[in-house]
């Protein structure tokens, strides 16, 4: 069972206060910690579990700048066998199609029974790249997957739907699956683990080597003409309680009693 996993490095924003940069179309990422996209981390873990159960190899691919090597090393430390970095030069301001073009050119020549990726990325949240790739590779696909069982030539997958419901599907292999968070419990990656894989060579490539023209990727090929960012107005709606911690908690307790019907 050979598996290719497409991953992305994103800024960690859950606890961060974000600021928009001078251009107005990007956020300031200078002070943000970069990490693997959460959905992709689950995809890497799922690939390694499938490899452990069925044998084969796991190849991770990312498109990013030189720092994106960190997420590849992280995946290697988790148990991936090979890693490929597509230099993001030329791909800046690509839409999902632009990114998918780079990935397609790499993945199509790799041996695979399964291509995995996260269902979406936490930064732009397009949730498009994986399935565009499936269409171009001519593969059956399933998105938002919470369970994968390999049954000979087929994969049985559970997709997550709304309202606590899942949908069971069967499809033939090779296939592409986009993974939903919570599908597994991703293993811990230690600094020692990353050190151990530091000698594994990462294959690097770029748009020219992949036979793409500048006009096929980046802003020129994107469907987006311009983008203007703004911060949503903070705390709109909520009355922010003020005072000392004790005063705030006193008020809050009163609200809970009054509204919750506690005597």
């Amino acid at each position: 069972m050979n598996i290719v996993v497409c991953i992305k490095q994103v800024p960690e924003v859950a606890e961060a206060e974000l600021e928009i940069d001078k251009s107005g179309s990007e956020i300031d990422t200078e002070d943000l910690v970069m990490d693997i996209n959460e959905w992709d981390n689950y995809a890497v873990e799922e690939a390694i579990r499938l490899k452990e159960a069925h044998g084969g190899t796991v190849t991770v691919v990312t498109l990013g700048d030189e720092d994106a090597e960190d997420v590849l090393r992280r995946a290697l430390a988790m148990g991936a066998d090979e890693a490929i970095l597509i230099d993001e030069e030329g791909f800046e301001e690509s839409d999902a199609f632009g990114i998918a073009k780079g990935l397609y050119r790499v993945v199509k020549d790799l041996p695979y029974d399964l291509v995995l990726t996260g269902a979406q990325a936490s930064d732009d949240g397009w949730a498009q790249v994986g399935l565009i790739l499936a269409e171009w590779l001519g593969l059956p696909f399933a998105s938002l997957v919470m369970d994968i069982v390999i049954d000979g030539e087929n994969a049985i997958v559970h997709r997550e739907l709304e309202s606590n419901t899942q949908e069971k599907n069967e499809m033939s292999l090779p296939a592409l699956i986009t993974v939903q968070t919570g599908i597994n419990d991703p293993r811990y990656v230690s600094i020692m683990g990353i050190r151990k894989v530091r000698r594994i060579e990462i294959r690097e490539t770029g748009y020219e080597e992949l036979g793409l023209a500048e006009t096929e990727i980046g802003s020129e090929a994107s469907c987006v003409a311009s983008r203007e960012l703004s911060l949503p107005s903070a705390g709109e709606g909520a009355e922010i309680l003020s005072g000392t911690l004790n005063e705030i908690c006193e008020k809050t307790a009163q609200i809970i009693r009054d509204r919750g019907g506690i005597d």
Binding site: V13, E15, E17, L18, I20, I27, D95, A96, F97, A119, S122, W126, A127, Q128, L131, I132, A134, W136, P140, F141, L144, I156, R159, E160, L161, E162, S163, N164, T165, Q166, E167, K168, N169, E170, M171, G182, S222, C223, V224, A225, R227, E228, L229, L231, P232, A234, G235, E236, G237, A238, I240, C249, T252, A253, I255, I256, R259, G260, G261, I262
Partner: protein
């Protein structure tokens, strides 16, 4: 722009709210731009669903056959490919739902359509499409201006428009010819409902809900003690259930449960829209979060900007007898 084509979404014979939300939106957009609204309803034994839709659109395109009884990408793609090309619809709308997210990208790739997913709003300015989205988990708004195209495909975020459509009229019904089906590589087997849970969070008067801000599983007991002290039930947001710190049956949100308690106390929950969709109708919402810009404060009635680990022990004391 001449036609907006809305793909009706349904499950187990019931139209989903998103279908009416899209229709509401589409009718508002066409009233300004003299476009027509067409709805494509794919399903089996469609009559009852068709009846519910016919007042709300100009054209009702119907395909009634077993191949499209339940959503599945291969048959849906084969029909849509044909319909979208033949009708040359200017704007094709789907929900940013489990079905729409599965269908829109391969359709866009197959037909070379520009796709803007997860739109909160879509408008037309001089033949240019403008779209409002959110990025970085709802922390940043992004207004996108699209380049000019003959056709656009957009998926609309659920819950952004009202599902009650105001429109009187009767649609022209058009029977869609089924395509010459080619192979279905993915087969729908069945819907799987979650097993019954030990606790029903939808029945609670007070919910104490924990999110990513809880940090580690050992901290859950602190919140559990607080919940016990005020007679509340413990629930959570997605990251906590994903990590297995609380069972999935306790998850509030789009893919979890929709709750309407008297009081909802959100602790360390940033408030992604999927979470808000599950709790915004609670009677009173109190949120505790370190980040004053956390989206949860937009739906909360009362906010405490601070560290939940400092707030909860003090708050718990207020309920000590």
């Amino acid at each position: 722009m001449e036609e907006i084509l809305v793909l009706a979404e349904h499950r187990k014979g019931m139209l989903r709210d998103i279908t009416f939300e899209m229709l509401n939106f589409a009718n508002a957009l066409t009233s300004q731009n003299r476009m027509k609204v067409s709805v494509l309803l794919l399903g089996e034994d469609n009559a009852a669903m068709a009846e519910r839709l016919e007042n709300f659109c100009d054209n009702l395109l119907l395909l009634d056959c077993p191949e499209v009884a339940n959503y599945s990408p291969d048959p849906y793609l084969q029909v849509l490919e044909k319909v979208v090309q033949e009708r040359k619809s200017s704007l094709i709308l789907m929900g940013h739902t489990a079905a729409g997210m599965d269908l829109a990208p391969p359709l866009a790739a197959r037909l070379g359509l520009p796709l803007v997913s997860d739109c909160l709003d879509v408008s037309l300015r001089n033949e240019h499409l403008e779209v409002l989205r959110q990025i970085y988990g709802g922390k940043i708004n992004a207004k996108l201006r699209l380049k000019p195209f003959d056709q656009y495909l957009c998926t609309l975020r659920p819950g952004c428009f009202s599902a009650s459509v105001n429109r009187e009229g009767s649609a022209d019904k058009v029977m869609v010819e089924p395509p010459h089906w080619s192979e279905f590589r993915r087969r729908f087997v069945e819907y799987v409902e979650a097993e019954l849970a030990d606790v029903d969070i939808t029945a609670a008067d007070i919910l104490v809900s924990v999110g990513r801000g809880i940090g580690k599983p050992e901290n859950i007991s602190l919140v559990e003690e607080f919940a016990d002290a005020i007679g509340a039930t413990l629930s959570c947001s997605r990251p906590v259930a994903d990590k297995g710190w609380l069972p999935k049956s306790r998850q509030v949100g789009t893919s979890g449960k929709t709750v309407r308690p008297k009081v909802y106390i959100a602790l360390g929950i940033s408030g992604a829209f999927q979470h808000q969709a599950g709790m915004k109708n609670a009677e009173t919402i109190i949120a505790v979060n370190k980040d004053v810009k956390a989206p949860i404060f937009n739906v909360a009635h009362y906010g405490i900007v601070g560290d939940l680990f400092q707030v909860i022990p003090v708050l718990k004391e207020k309920f000590a007898r």
